[in-house]
Protein backbone atom coordinates (compact mmCIF):
# COMPACT_ATOMS: atom_id res chain seq x y z
CA UNK A 1 0.00 0.00 0.00
CA UNK A 2 1.09 3.58 -0.58
CA UNK A 3 2.34 5.60 2.34
CA UNK A 4 -0.08 7.89 4.09
CA UNK A 5 1.70 10.95 2.69
CA UNK A 6 1.12 9.70 -0.86
CA UNK A 7 -2.54 8.99 -0.15
CA UNK A 8 -2.91 12.46 1.35
CA UNK A 9 -1.29 14.13 -1.67
CA UNK A 10 -3.36 12.17 -4.16
CA UNK A 11 -6.62 12.74 -2.29
CA UNK A 12 -5.97 16.45 -2.05
CA UNK A 13 -5.25 16.56 -5.77
CA UNK A 14 -8.39 14.58 -6.60
CA UNK A 15 -10.79 16.50 -4.37
CA UNK A 16 -10.51 20.23 -4.96
CA UNK A 17 -10.28 22.20 -1.75
CA UNK A 18 -9.90 19.24 0.56
CA UNK A 19 -7.67 19.81 3.56
CA UNK A 20 -6.13 16.68 5.04
CA UNK A 21 -3.78 16.47 8.00
CA UNK A 22 -1.84 13.46 9.16
CA UNK A 23 -2.43 12.65 12.82
CA UNK A 24 0.67 10.88 14.13
CA UNK A 25 0.36 7.89 16.45
CA UNK A 26 3.25 7.81 18.91
CA UNK A 27 2.66 4.27 20.19
CA UNK A 28 4.29 1.05 18.95
CA UNK A 29 1.20 0.19 16.90
CA UNK A 30 2.25 2.72 14.26
CA UNK A 31 -1.22 3.41 12.93
CA UNK A 32 -1.27 7.08 11.96
CA UNK A 33 -4.49 8.48 10.56
CA UNK A 34 -5.81 11.13 8.22
CA UNK A 35 -7.79 14.04 9.63
CA UNK A 36 -10.25 15.14 6.97
CA UNK A 37 -12.12 18.42 6.95
CA UNK A 38 -15.85 17.95 7.35
CA UNK A 39 -16.86 19.74 4.19
CA UNK A 40 -15.01 17.38 1.85
CA UNK A 41 -15.15 14.21 3.96
CA UNK A 42 -17.70 12.44 1.77
CA UNK A 43 -15.79 13.29 -1.41
CA UNK A 44 -12.50 12.13 0.07
CA UNK A 45 -14.07 8.89 1.30
CA UNK A 46 -15.55 8.34 -2.15
CA UNK A 47 -12.11 8.88 -3.66
CA UNK A 48 -10.56 6.37 -1.25
CA UNK A 49 -13.23 3.83 -2.08
CA UNK A 50 -13.19 4.22 -5.86
CA UNK A 51 -9.53 4.92 -6.62
CA UNK A 52 -8.27 1.85 -8.52
CA UNK A 53 -4.94 1.70 -6.70
CA UNK A 54 -6.45 2.07 -3.23
CA UNK A 55 -9.96 0.59 -3.39
CA UNK A 56 -10.48 0.75 0.38
CA UNK A 57 -14.00 -0.55 -0.09
CA UNK A 58 -14.59 -2.00 3.36
CA UNK A 59 -15.32 0.21 6.35
CA UNK A 60 -14.54 -2.11 9.18
CA UNK A 61 -15.04 0.05 12.21
CA UNK A 62 -16.58 3.44 12.86
CA UNK A 63 -16.52 4.89 16.31
CA UNK A 64 -16.55 8.07 18.30
CA UNK A 65 -14.04 9.54 20.71
CA UNK A 66 -14.71 12.33 23.17
CA UNK A 67 -12.00 14.90 23.88
CA UNK A 68 -12.86 17.27 26.70
CA UNK A 69 -11.83 20.90 27.01
CA UNK A 70 -8.34 21.02 28.42
CA UNK A 71 -5.72 23.55 29.34
CA UNK A 72 -2.19 23.10 28.12
CA UNK A 73 0.48 24.63 30.33
CA UNK A 74 3.54 25.92 28.53
CA UNK A 75 6.64 27.09 30.31
CA UNK A 76 8.75 29.54 28.37
CA UNK A 77 11.95 31.21 29.53
CA UNK A 78 11.59 34.95 29.18
CA UNK A 79 14.23 37.56 29.76
CA UNK A 80 12.99 40.07 32.29
CA UNK A 81 14.53 42.93 34.12
CA UNK A 82 14.27 42.16 37.82
CA UNK A 83 15.74 44.75 40.24
CA UNK A 84 17.69 46.33 37.42
CA UNK A 85 19.33 43.01 36.43
CA UNK A 86 18.31 41.02 33.38
CA UNK A 87 17.37 37.47 34.35
CA UNK A 88 15.86 34.41 32.75
CA UNK A 89 12.47 33.86 34.33
CA UNK A 90 10.13 30.92 33.73
CA UNK A 91 6.77 32.12 32.60
CA UNK A 92 3.87 29.70 32.36
CA UNK A 93 1.13 30.44 29.93
CA UNK A 94 -2.10 28.52 29.96
CA UNK A 95 -3.71 27.78 26.65
CA UNK A 96 -7.26 26.56 26.47
CA UNK A 97 -7.85 23.85 23.91
CA UNK A 98 -11.57 23.54 23.22
CA UNK A 99 -12.99 20.04 23.34
CA UNK A 100 -14.46 18.23 20.39
CA UNK A 101 -15.97 14.93 19.39
CA UNK A 102 -14.26 12.76 16.88
CA UNK A 103 -15.47 10.03 14.53
CA UNK A 104 -12.85 7.47 13.54
CA UNK A 105 -13.27 5.13 10.58
CA UNK A 106 -11.02 2.13 9.99
CA UNK A 107 -11.02 1.34 6.29
CA UNK A 108 -9.60 -1.73 4.60
CA UNK A 109 -9.53 -2.99 1.06
CA UNK A 110 -11.17 -6.29 0.28
CA UNK A 111 -10.11 -6.06 -3.36
CA UNK A 112 -6.41 -5.51 -2.77
CA UNK A 113 -6.36 -6.91 0.78
CA UNK A 114 -4.48 -4.05 2.32
CA UNK A 115 -5.14 -1.57 5.07
CA UNK A 116 -5.94 -0.02 7.37
CA UNK A 117 -6.46 3.52 6.18
CA UNK A 118 -7.74 5.36 9.22
CA UNK A 119 -9.70 8.55 8.68
CA UNK A 120 -11.10 10.81 11.33
CA UNK A 121 -13.36 13.83 11.42
CA UNK A 122 -13.76 16.35 14.21
CA UNK A 123 -16.72 18.42 15.28
CA UNK A 124 -16.41 22.13 15.98
CA UNK A 125 -17.37 21.79 19.63
CA UNK A 126 -19.21 19.43 21.95
CA UNK A 127 -22.55 21.28 22.08
CA UNK A 128 -24.43 22.75 19.11
CA UNK A 129 -21.63 22.23 16.64
CA UNK A 130 -21.51 18.46 17.22
CA UNK A 131 -22.36 17.68 13.62
CA UNK A 132 -20.52 15.63 11.04
CA UNK A 133 -21.29 14.53 7.51
CA UNK A 134 -22.53 10.96 7.29
CA UNK A 135 -20.50 8.44 5.30
CA UNK A 136 -23.38 5.96 5.12
CA UNK A 137 -24.00 6.77 1.48
CA UNK A 138 -20.44 5.61 0.72
CA UNK A 139 -20.04 2.84 3.27
CA UNK A 140 -23.28 1.13 4.18
CA UNK A 141 -21.60 -0.50 7.17
CA UNK A 142 -21.50 2.92 8.81
CA UNK A 143 -25.29 2.94 9.04
CA UNK A 144 -25.65 1.25 12.42
CA UNK A 145 -22.28 2.41 13.68
CA UNK A 146 -23.06 6.08 13.03
CA UNK A 147 -26.37 5.59 14.77
CA UNK A 148 -24.42 4.21 17.69
CA UNK A 149 -22.08 7.22 17.72
CA UNK A 150 -25.13 9.49 17.68
CA UNK A 151 -26.71 7.46 20.46
CA UNK A 152 -23.73 7.34 22.79
CA UNK A 153 -21.80 10.51 21.88
CA UNK A 154 -24.43 12.85 20.50
CA UNK A 155 -22.82 13.53 17.14
CA UNK A 156 -25.48 14.38 14.57
CA UNK A 157 -24.69 12.94 11.16
CA UNK A 158 -25.98 15.07 8.30
CA UNK A 159 -27.33 12.95 5.49
CA UNK A 160 -27.82 9.78 7.51
CA UNK A 161 -30.97 8.02 6.29
CA UNK A 162 -32.29 6.92 9.67
CA UNK A 163 -30.62 8.69 12.57
CA UNK A 164 -32.28 7.33 15.71
CA UNK A 165 -31.05 5.99 19.01
CA UNK A 166 -29.98 2.39 18.61
CA UNK A 167 -28.83 0.94 21.93
CA UNK A 168 -30.46 3.31 24.43
CA UNK A 169 -34.22 3.78 24.37
CA UNK A 170 -35.71 6.65 22.42
CA UNK A 171 -36.78 8.68 25.47
CA UNK A 172 -33.28 8.75 26.92
CA UNK A 173 -31.87 12.27 26.96
CA UNK A 174 -28.13 12.26 27.69
CA UNK A 175 -25.18 10.73 25.82
CA UNK A 176 -23.64 8.10 28.09
CA UNK A 177 -20.24 7.63 26.44
CA UNK A 178 -19.23 11.25 26.88
CA UNK A 179 -16.47 11.71 29.39
CA UNK A 180 -18.45 14.21 31.49
CA UNK A 181 -21.59 12.08 31.62
CA UNK A 182 -23.17 11.74 35.06
CA UNK A 183 -25.70 9.00 35.53
CA UNK A 184 -29.13 10.18 36.63
CA UNK A 185 -30.26 9.52 40.19
CA UNK A 186 -32.57 6.66 39.36
CA UNK A 187 -33.67 5.65 42.81
CA UNK A 188 -34.87 2.14 43.47
CA UNK A 189 -36.65 1.13 46.64
CA UNK A 190 -34.36 -0.78 48.94
CA UNK A 191 -36.01 -2.61 51.88
CA UNK A 192 -33.03 -2.32 54.21
CA UNK A 193 -30.99 0.70 53.11
CA UNK A 194 -27.63 1.20 54.76
CA UNK A 195 -24.53 3.40 54.50
CA UNK A 196 -24.39 5.39 51.29
CA UNK A 197 -27.52 3.70 50.01
CA UNK A 198 -29.34 5.01 53.09
CA UNK A 199 -28.03 8.51 52.50
CA UNK A 200 -29.24 8.35 48.94
CA UNK A 201 -32.56 6.87 50.00
CA UNK A 202 -33.20 9.64 52.56
CA UNK A 203 -33.35 12.20 49.78
CA UNK A 204 -36.21 10.30 48.27
CA UNK A 205 -38.33 9.86 51.41
CA UNK A 206 -40.91 12.52 51.99
CA UNK A 207 -41.24 13.68 55.59
CA UNK A 208 -43.77 11.73 57.64
CA UNK A 209 -47.21 13.26 57.71
CA UNK A 210 -48.41 14.77 60.99
CA UNK A 211 -51.57 12.88 61.88
CA UNK A 212 -52.55 13.14 65.52
CA UNK A 213 -49.24 13.65 67.26
CA UNK A 214 -48.90 9.98 68.28
CA UNK A 215 -45.68 9.64 66.24
CA UNK A 216 -44.05 12.37 68.27
CA UNK A 217 -44.54 10.48 71.55
CA UNK A 218 -42.50 7.50 70.31
CA UNK A 219 -39.97 9.85 68.80
CA UNK A 220 -39.42 11.68 72.10
CA UNK A 221 -38.95 8.50 74.11
CA UNK A 222 -35.75 7.67 72.26
Amino acid sequence: MESLEQIKARAEAAVAGAKIDIVPNPGPANQPSLLIDNEHAAAVAKFLRDDPALRVDFCSNATGVDWLDRTVKKTVKVKKVVDGVEKDVDETTEEKVPGFLEAVYHLYSMTHKHGPVIIRMRTIDRVEGARLPSLTSIYRSAEFQEREIFDLYGVRFDGHPDLRRILMWDEFVDYPMRKDYREPDDYEYEPTPHDDVLEKAKQHYSSRPQLDGAENITAQQQ
Binding site: P26, G27, A29, K113, Y139, F144
Partner: protein, 392 residues
Protein backbone atom coordinates in the same frame (compact mmCIF):
# COMPACT_ATOMS: atom_id res chain seq x y z
CA UNK B 1 -54.98 -38.75 -18.40
CA UNK B 2 -56.97 -35.90 -19.69
CA UNK B 3 -54.82 -32.87 -19.98
CA UNK B 4 -57.05 -29.97 -19.29
CA UNK B 5 -55.11 -26.87 -18.55
CA UNK B 6 -56.92 -24.44 -16.40
CA UNK B 7 -55.68 -20.99 -15.81
CA UNK B 8 -56.60 -20.21 -12.28
CA UNK B 9 -56.75 -16.71 -11.05
CA UNK B 10 -56.28 -17.25 -7.33
CA UNK B 11 -57.99 -14.01 -6.38
CA UNK B 12 -60.98 -14.60 -8.62
CA UNK B 13 -61.28 -18.17 -7.38
CA UNK B 14 -61.06 -17.24 -3.75
CA UNK B 15 -63.49 -14.40 -4.07
CA UNK B 16 -66.06 -16.86 -5.36
CA UNK B 17 -65.54 -19.06 -2.35
CA UNK B 18 -65.43 -16.35 0.28
CA UNK B 19 -68.22 -13.97 1.11
CA UNK B 20 -67.74 -10.67 -0.74
CA UNK B 21 -66.60 -8.69 2.29
CA UNK B 22 -63.80 -11.14 3.10
CA UNK B 23 -60.78 -11.35 0.88
CA UNK B 24 -57.62 -13.19 1.70
CA UNK B 25 -55.44 -10.31 0.57
CA UNK B 26 -54.86 -7.10 2.42
CA UNK B 27 -54.76 -5.18 -0.88
CA UNK B 28 -51.71 -3.03 -0.27
CA UNK B 29 -52.45 -2.62 3.42
CA UNK B 30 -49.52 -3.33 5.65
CA UNK B 31 -49.88 -5.04 8.98
CA UNK B 32 -47.26 -4.11 11.53
CA UNK B 33 -46.08 -6.91 13.75
CA UNK B 34 -43.54 -6.66 16.52
CA UNK B 35 -41.58 -9.91 16.50
CA UNK B 36 -39.78 -10.39 19.76
CA UNK B 37 -38.13 -9.49 22.05
CA UNK B 38 -39.27 -12.70 23.74
CA UNK B 39 -39.27 -15.07 20.81
CA UNK B 40 -37.61 -18.48 20.83
CA UNK B 41 -35.94 -17.94 17.46
CA UNK B 42 -34.48 -14.48 17.96
CA UNK B 43 -31.46 -15.92 19.79
CA UNK B 44 -31.86 -13.64 22.77
CA UNK B 45 -33.79 -10.48 23.42
CA UNK B 46 -34.03 -9.10 19.91
CA UNK B 47 -37.00 -7.46 18.28
CA UNK B 48 -37.92 -6.88 14.68
CA UNK B 49 -40.63 -4.44 13.70
CA UNK B 50 -42.03 -6.05 10.59
CA UNK B 51 -44.54 -4.63 8.15
CA UNK B 52 -46.36 -7.48 6.45
CA UNK B 53 -48.46 -7.69 3.35
CA UNK B 54 -50.26 -10.94 3.90
CA UNK B 55 -47.33 -13.12 4.86
CA UNK B 56 -44.73 -11.23 2.86
CA UNK B 57 -42.27 -8.95 4.61
CA UNK B 58 -42.30 -5.45 3.14
CA UNK B 59 -40.34 -3.60 5.82
CA UNK B 60 -38.19 -4.74 8.68
CA UNK B 61 -36.51 -2.67 11.34
CA UNK B 62 -34.37 -4.43 13.92
CA UNK B 63 -34.67 -3.05 17.44
CA UNK B 64 -32.10 -3.93 20.05
CA UNK B 65 -30.42 -2.65 23.15
CA UNK B 66 -32.27 -4.83 25.64
CA UNK B 67 -28.97 -6.24 26.87
CA UNK B 68 -27.11 -2.95 26.65
CA UNK B 69 -24.88 -2.31 29.65
CA UNK B 70 -22.42 0.06 28.00
CA UNK B 71 -19.56 -2.38 27.93
CA UNK B 72 -17.29 0.27 26.42
CA UNK B 73 -17.83 2.71 29.27
CA UNK B 74 -17.11 -0.02 31.79
CA UNK B 75 -13.96 -0.83 29.83
CA UNK B 76 -12.85 2.80 30.11
CA UNK B 77 -13.30 2.69 33.87
CA UNK B 78 -11.35 -0.50 34.55
CA UNK B 79 -7.72 -1.39 34.07
CA UNK B 80 -6.52 -3.15 30.95
CA UNK B 81 -6.40 -6.47 32.78
CA UNK B 82 -9.82 -5.90 34.34
CA UNK B 83 -11.50 -5.82 30.94
CA UNK B 84 -10.18 -9.25 29.99
CA UNK B 85 -12.77 -11.37 31.87
CA UNK B 86 -15.42 -8.91 30.79
CA UNK B 87 -14.75 -9.59 27.11
CA UNK B 88 -15.96 -13.16 27.74
CA UNK B 89 -19.46 -11.77 28.18
CA UNK B 90 -19.57 -10.16 24.75
CA UNK B 91 -20.12 -13.18 22.58
CA UNK B 92 -20.58 -15.73 25.31
CA UNK B 93 -20.25 -18.62 22.87
CA UNK B 94 -16.73 -17.65 21.86
CA UNK B 95 -14.98 -16.31 24.92
CA UNK B 96 -11.61 -17.61 23.74
CA UNK B 97 -11.63 -15.61 20.51
CA UNK B 98 -12.90 -12.53 22.36
CA UNK B 99 -9.94 -12.83 24.71
CA UNK B 100 -7.59 -13.21 21.80
CA UNK B 101 -8.88 -10.16 19.95
CA UNK B 102 -8.54 -8.02 23.05
CA UNK B 103 -5.11 -9.41 23.92
CA UNK B 104 -3.96 -8.84 20.35
CA UNK B 105 -5.05 -5.20 20.45
CA UNK B 106 -3.31 -4.54 23.75
CA UNK B 107 -0.20 -6.26 22.42
CA UNK B 108 -0.28 -3.96 19.40
CA UNK B 109 -0.83 -0.97 21.62
CA UNK B 110 2.11 -1.73 23.87
CA UNK B 111 4.33 -3.65 21.47
CA UNK B 112 4.38 -6.94 23.38
CA UNK B 113 5.85 -10.16 22.04
CA UNK B 114 4.09 -13.46 22.65
CA UNK B 115 5.97 -16.74 23.26
CA UNK B 116 5.71 -19.38 20.58
CA UNK B 117 3.85 -21.96 22.63
CA UNK B 118 1.26 -19.39 23.67
CA UNK B 119 0.61 -18.51 20.02
CA UNK B 120 0.04 -22.17 19.23
CA UNK B 121 -2.26 -22.56 22.22
CA UNK B 122 -4.22 -19.54 21.02
CA UNK B 123 -4.64 -21.02 17.56
CA UNK B 124 -5.77 -24.35 19.05
CA UNK B 125 -8.30 -22.71 21.36
CA UNK B 126 -9.59 -20.34 18.69
CA UNK B 127 -10.17 -23.21 16.28
CA UNK B 128 -11.86 -25.28 18.98
CA UNK B 129 -14.08 -22.27 19.62
CA UNK B 130 -14.88 -22.10 15.93
CA UNK B 131 -15.83 -25.78 15.94
CA UNK B 132 -18.22 -25.47 18.86
CA UNK B 133 -19.69 -22.16 17.66
CA UNK B 134 -20.41 -23.44 14.17
CA UNK B 135 -21.71 -26.77 15.45
CA UNK B 136 -24.18 -25.12 17.79
CA UNK B 137 -25.16 -22.60 15.13
CA UNK B 138 -26.13 -25.44 12.79
CA UNK B 139 -28.18 -26.96 15.58
CA UNK B 140 -29.97 -23.71 16.32
CA UNK B 141 -30.60 -23.03 12.66
CA UNK B 142 -32.17 -26.43 12.09
CA UNK B 143 -34.15 -25.94 15.24
CA UNK B 144 -35.49 -22.66 13.84
CA UNK B 145 -36.49 -24.49 10.70
CA UNK B 146 -38.58 -26.95 12.62
CA UNK B 147 -36.16 -29.84 13.05
CA UNK B 148 -36.97 -29.56 16.69
CA UNK B 149 -34.45 -30.86 19.16
CA UNK B 150 -32.61 -33.74 17.56
CA UNK B 151 -30.02 -31.92 15.40
CA UNK B 152 -29.47 -29.43 18.21
CA UNK B 153 -28.76 -32.25 20.63
CA UNK B 154 -26.34 -33.86 18.16
CA UNK B 155 -24.52 -30.55 17.86
CA UNK B 156 -24.54 -29.91 21.57
CA UNK B 157 -23.09 -33.34 22.24
CA UNK B 158 -19.98 -32.25 20.32
CA UNK B 159 -19.98 -28.80 21.84
CA UNK B 160 -20.10 -30.35 25.28
CA UNK B 161 -16.85 -32.21 24.70
CA UNK B 162 -15.09 -29.03 23.68
CA UNK B 163 -16.53 -27.12 26.61
CA UNK B 164 -15.18 -29.85 28.90
CA UNK B 165 -11.76 -29.20 27.41
CA UNK B 166 -12.13 -25.49 28.09
CA UNK B 167 -13.20 -26.22 31.62
CA UNK B 168 -10.25 -28.41 32.45
CA UNK B 169 -7.87 -25.85 30.98
CA UNK B 170 -9.29 -22.55 32.23
CA UNK B 171 -11.65 -23.53 35.02
CA UNK B 172 -14.77 -22.36 33.27
CA UNK B 173 -16.84 -23.75 30.46
CA UNK B 174 -17.99 -20.56 28.85
CA UNK B 175 -16.42 -17.58 30.65
CA UNK B 176 -12.88 -18.80 30.09
CA UNK B 177 -10.82 -15.64 30.73
CA UNK B 178 -7.85 -17.62 29.52
CA UNK B 179 -5.63 -15.29 27.54
CA UNK B 180 -3.51 -12.43 28.78
CA UNK B 181 -1.61 -9.80 26.86
CA UNK B 182 1.78 -11.39 26.43
CA UNK B 183 0.61 -15.01 26.42
CA UNK B 184 -1.85 -17.30 28.11
CA UNK B 185 -2.76 -17.72 31.76
CA UNK B 186 -1.82 -21.38 32.27
CA UNK B 187 -0.09 -24.02 30.23
CA UNK B 188 -1.91 -27.03 28.84
CA UNK B 189 -0.49 -30.33 30.02
CA UNK B 190 0.27 -33.31 27.82
CA UNK B 191 -2.83 -35.17 29.06
CA UNK B 192 -4.97 -32.21 27.99
CA UNK B 193 -3.34 -32.32 24.55
CA UNK B 194 -4.08 -36.04 24.27
CA UNK B 195 -7.73 -35.50 25.14
CA UNK B 196 -7.99 -32.59 22.71
CA UNK B 197 -6.40 -34.67 19.97
CA UNK B 198 -8.89 -37.46 20.51
CA UNK B 199 -11.84 -35.09 20.35
CA UNK B 200 -10.53 -33.43 17.20
CA UNK B 201 -9.85 -36.81 15.56
CA UNK B 202 -13.42 -37.82 16.26
CA UNK B 203 -14.90 -34.56 15.01
CA UNK B 204 -14.97 -35.37 11.26
CA UNK B 205 -17.16 -38.37 12.06
CA UNK B 206 -19.70 -36.04 13.60
CA UNK B 207 -19.46 -33.81 10.56
CA UNK B 208 -20.00 -36.73 8.18
CA UNK B 209 -22.99 -37.89 10.15
CA UNK B 210 -24.44 -34.41 10.37
CA UNK B 211 -23.84 -33.72 6.72
CA UNK B 212 -25.51 -36.99 5.73
CA UNK B 213 -28.52 -36.00 7.74
CA UNK B 214 -28.94 -32.45 6.55
CA UNK B 215 -27.19 -31.63 3.30
CA UNK B 216 -29.59 -33.28 0.91
CA UNK B 217 -32.65 -33.01 3.06
CA UNK B 218 -35.49 -31.86 0.85
CA UNK B 219 -37.13 -29.65 3.44
CA UNK B 220 -33.85 -27.99 4.29
CA UNK B 221 -33.16 -27.26 0.64
CA UNK B 222 -36.64 -25.88 0.11
CA UNK B 223 -36.35 -23.64 3.13
CA UNK B 224 -32.86 -22.30 2.50
CA UNK B 225 -31.93 -22.24 -1.16
CA UNK B 226 -32.66 -18.90 -2.86
CA UNK B 227 -33.76 -17.53 0.49
CA UNK B 228 -32.11 -14.37 1.77
CA UNK B 229 -29.71 -13.80 -1.09
CA UNK B 230 -26.91 -11.32 -0.52
CA UNK B 231 -24.85 -9.91 -3.36
CA UNK B 232 -21.10 -9.62 -3.02
CA UNK B 233 -21.14 -5.85 -3.69
CA UNK B 234 -23.64 -5.16 -0.94
CA UNK B 235 -21.85 -7.49 1.44
CA UNK B 236 -18.54 -5.65 1.00
CA UNK B 237 -20.15 -2.23 1.19
CA UNK B 238 -22.13 -3.12 4.30
CA UNK B 239 -19.04 -4.41 6.07
CA UNK B 240 -20.28 -7.99 6.37
CA UNK B 241 -17.53 -10.29 7.57
CA UNK B 242 -16.97 -13.90 8.43
CA UNK B 243 -18.75 -16.90 6.90
CA UNK B 244 -21.62 -14.67 5.81
CA UNK B 245 -19.27 -12.68 3.56
CA UNK B 246 -17.51 -15.72 2.19
CA UNK B 247 -20.86 -17.30 1.35
CA UNK B 248 -21.21 -14.50 -1.23
CA UNK B 249 -17.97 -15.59 -2.86
CA UNK B 250 -15.71 -12.87 -1.47
CA UNK B 251 -12.34 -14.32 -0.54
CA UNK B 252 -11.56 -12.39 2.62
CA UNK B 253 -10.39 -14.26 5.67
CA UNK B 254 -8.41 -12.22 8.20
CA UNK B 255 -6.45 -15.34 9.14
CA UNK B 256 -5.04 -15.20 5.61
CA UNK B 257 -5.07 -11.43 5.03
CA UNK B 258 -3.51 -10.22 8.27
CA UNK B 259 -1.74 -13.46 9.09
CA UNK B 260 -1.98 -12.76 12.80
CA UNK B 261 -0.87 -15.34 15.34
CA UNK B 262 0.83 -18.24 13.58
CA UNK B 263 -1.80 -18.74 10.90
CA UNK B 264 0.67 -18.29 8.02
CA UNK B 265 2.38 -21.49 9.26
CA UNK B 266 -0.72 -23.61 8.69
CA UNK B 267 -2.08 -24.98 5.47
CA UNK B 268 -5.77 -24.42 5.10
CA UNK B 269 -8.22 -23.38 2.47
CA UNK B 270 -10.87 -20.67 2.65
CA UNK B 271 -14.20 -22.13 1.58
CA UNK B 272 -16.24 -19.83 -0.63
CA UNK B 273 -19.91 -19.83 -1.49
CA UNK B 274 -21.45 -19.08 -4.81
CA UNK B 275 -24.98 -17.81 -4.34
CA UNK B 276 -24.91 -15.98 -1.04
CA UNK B 277 -28.16 -17.54 0.08
CA UNK B 278 -29.02 -19.15 3.38
CA UNK B 279 -27.98 -22.60 2.18
CA UNK B 280 -24.51 -21.32 1.28
CA UNK B 281 -24.17 -19.64 4.64
CA UNK B 282 -25.12 -22.89 6.32
CA UNK B 283 -22.73 -25.00 4.26
CA UNK B 284 -19.97 -22.46 4.82
CA UNK B 285 -20.00 -23.39 8.47
CA UNK B 286 -19.72 -27.11 7.72
CA UNK B 287 -16.79 -26.53 5.37
CA UNK B 288 -15.06 -24.17 7.78
CA UNK B 289 -15.28 -26.78 10.50
CA UNK B 290 -13.47 -29.24 8.24
CA UNK B 291 -10.69 -26.70 7.66
CA UNK B 292 -10.51 -26.00 11.39
CA UNK B 293 -10.00 -29.69 12.07
CA UNK B 294 -7.10 -29.59 9.61
CA UNK B 295 -5.53 -26.58 11.34
CA UNK B 296 -5.92 -28.23 14.74
CA UNK B 297 -4.20 -31.41 13.59
CA UNK B 298 -1.24 -29.40 12.26
CA UNK B 299 -1.09 -27.34 15.45
CA UNK B 300 -0.99 -30.45 17.65
CA UNK B 301 1.97 -31.72 15.66
CA UNK B 302 3.90 -28.47 15.58
CA UNK B 303 3.37 -27.11 19.09
CA UNK B 304 6.73 -26.63 20.84
CA UNK B 305 7.51 -26.76 24.54
CA UNK B 306 8.32 -23.53 26.33
CA UNK B 307 6.85 -20.75 28.40
CA UNK B 308 3.33 -19.50 27.74
CA UNK B 309 3.74 -16.05 29.18
CA UNK B 310 6.10 -13.23 28.30
CA UNK B 311 7.92 -12.60 31.61
CA UNK B 312 8.50 -8.93 30.84
CA UNK B 313 4.81 -8.08 30.93
CA UNK B 314 3.49 -6.72 34.19
CA UNK B 315 -0.19 -7.51 34.08
CA UNK B 316 -1.03 -5.54 37.19
CA UNK B 317 -0.36 -1.80 37.08
CA UNK B 318 -0.05 -2.18 33.34
CA UNK B 319 0.46 1.16 31.62
CA UNK B 320 0.94 1.06 27.86
CA UNK B 321 2.55 4.09 26.19
CA UNK B 322 0.27 6.78 24.81
CA UNK B 323 -1.07 5.99 21.37
CA UNK B 324 -3.83 4.05 19.71
CA UNK B 325 -4.21 0.65 18.09
CA UNK B 326 -6.83 -1.30 16.23
CA UNK B 327 -6.41 -5.06 16.34
CA UNK B 328 -8.72 -7.57 14.73
CA UNK B 329 -9.06 -11.30 14.36
CA UNK B 330 -11.26 -13.64 12.39
CA UNK B 331 -13.78 -14.66 15.00
CA UNK B 332 -16.26 -17.44 14.29
CA UNK B 333 -18.92 -14.80 13.56
CA UNK B 334 -16.75 -12.40 11.60
CA UNK B 335 -14.19 -9.72 12.17
CA UNK B 336 -13.87 -9.02 15.86
CA UNK B 337 -11.83 -5.90 16.51
CA UNK B 338 -10.81 -3.82 19.48
CA UNK B 339 -9.86 -0.18 19.13
CA UNK B 340 -7.91 1.18 22.07
CA UNK B 341 -6.61 4.66 22.79
CA UNK B 342 -4.14 4.99 25.62
CA UNK B 343 -3.20 8.24 27.28
CA UNK B 344 -0.47 6.56 29.27
CA UNK B 345 -2.70 5.87 32.24
CA UNK B 346 -3.78 2.58 33.81
CA UNK B 347 -7.19 2.65 32.09
CA UNK B 348 -7.77 2.92 28.36
CA UNK B 349 -8.94 6.38 27.28
CA UNK B 350 -11.13 4.77 24.66
CA UNK B 351 -12.12 1.14 24.49
CA UNK B 352 -14.16 0.16 21.51
CA UNK B 353 -15.41 -3.25 20.44
CA UNK B 354 -16.09 -3.85 16.78
CA UNK B 355 -18.83 -6.47 17.08
CA UNK B 356 -19.32 -8.67 14.02
CA UNK B 357 -22.89 -9.72 14.87
CA UNK B 358 -23.97 -6.08 15.24
CA UNK B 359 -22.61 -5.01 11.88
CA UNK B 360 -23.79 -8.17 10.12
CA UNK B 361 -27.33 -7.18 11.10
CA UNK B 362 -27.09 -4.06 8.92
CA UNK B 363 -28.33 -5.98 5.90
CA UNK B 364 -31.02 -7.98 7.69
CA UNK B 365 -33.77 -5.90 6.09
CA UNK B 366 -32.29 -6.33 2.61
CA UNK B 367 -32.14 -10.09 3.11
CA UNK B 368 -35.68 -10.47 4.37
CA UNK B 369 -37.66 -8.23 1.99
CA UNK B 370 -40.02 -10.22 -0.18
CA UNK B 371 -39.78 -13.37 1.91
CA UNK B 372 -42.32 -14.80 4.30
CA UNK B 373 -42.30 -14.40 8.07
CA UNK B 374 -41.18 -17.98 8.49
CA UNK B 375 -38.13 -17.27 6.32
CA UNK B 376 -37.15 -14.32 8.50
CA UNK B 377 -36.35 -16.71 11.33
CA UNK B 378 -34.21 -18.88 9.08
CA UNK B 379 -32.35 -15.87 7.65
CA UNK B 380 -31.75 -14.44 11.10
CA UNK B 381 -30.49 -17.81 12.26
CA UNK B 382 -28.01 -17.97 9.38
CA UNK B 383 -26.63 -14.51 10.22
CA UNK B 384 -25.43 -15.98 13.52
CA UNK B 385 -25.89 -13.33 16.16
CA UNK B 386 -25.36 -13.34 19.90
CA UNK B 387 -27.14 -10.53 21.68
CA UNK B 388 -24.44 -10.13 24.30
CA UNK B 389 -22.25 -8.85 21.51
CA UNK B 390 -24.88 -6.92 19.56
CA UNK B 391 -26.05 -4.87 22.51
CA UNK B 392 -22.80 -4.76 24.49
Amino acid sequence: MSATIQTLDPVAEQSTRLPPQMTSRLDGELLEVSMGPQHPSTHGVFRMNVALEGEIVRKLKPVFGYLHRNHEKIGENTSYLGSMPYTDRLDYFCSMTNNWAYALSVEKLAGIEVPERAEYLRVILAELTRLQNHASLLGFLLSDMGAWGTPLMYAFREREKILDLFESLSGSRMMCDYMRFGGCRVDAGSDWMERAKKIVDFFPRFLDEFENLIVENEILIARTQEVGKLSAELAINAGITGPMLRACGVNYDIRKVDGYGFYPRFKFRVPLGEHGDTYDRLMMRVLEMRESVGILKQAFEQIPAGPVMNPKVKLRAFRPPAGEAYGRIEGPKGELGFYLISDGGPNPYRYRVRPPSFINLTVLEDLCLGHTVADVMVILGSVDIVMGEVDR
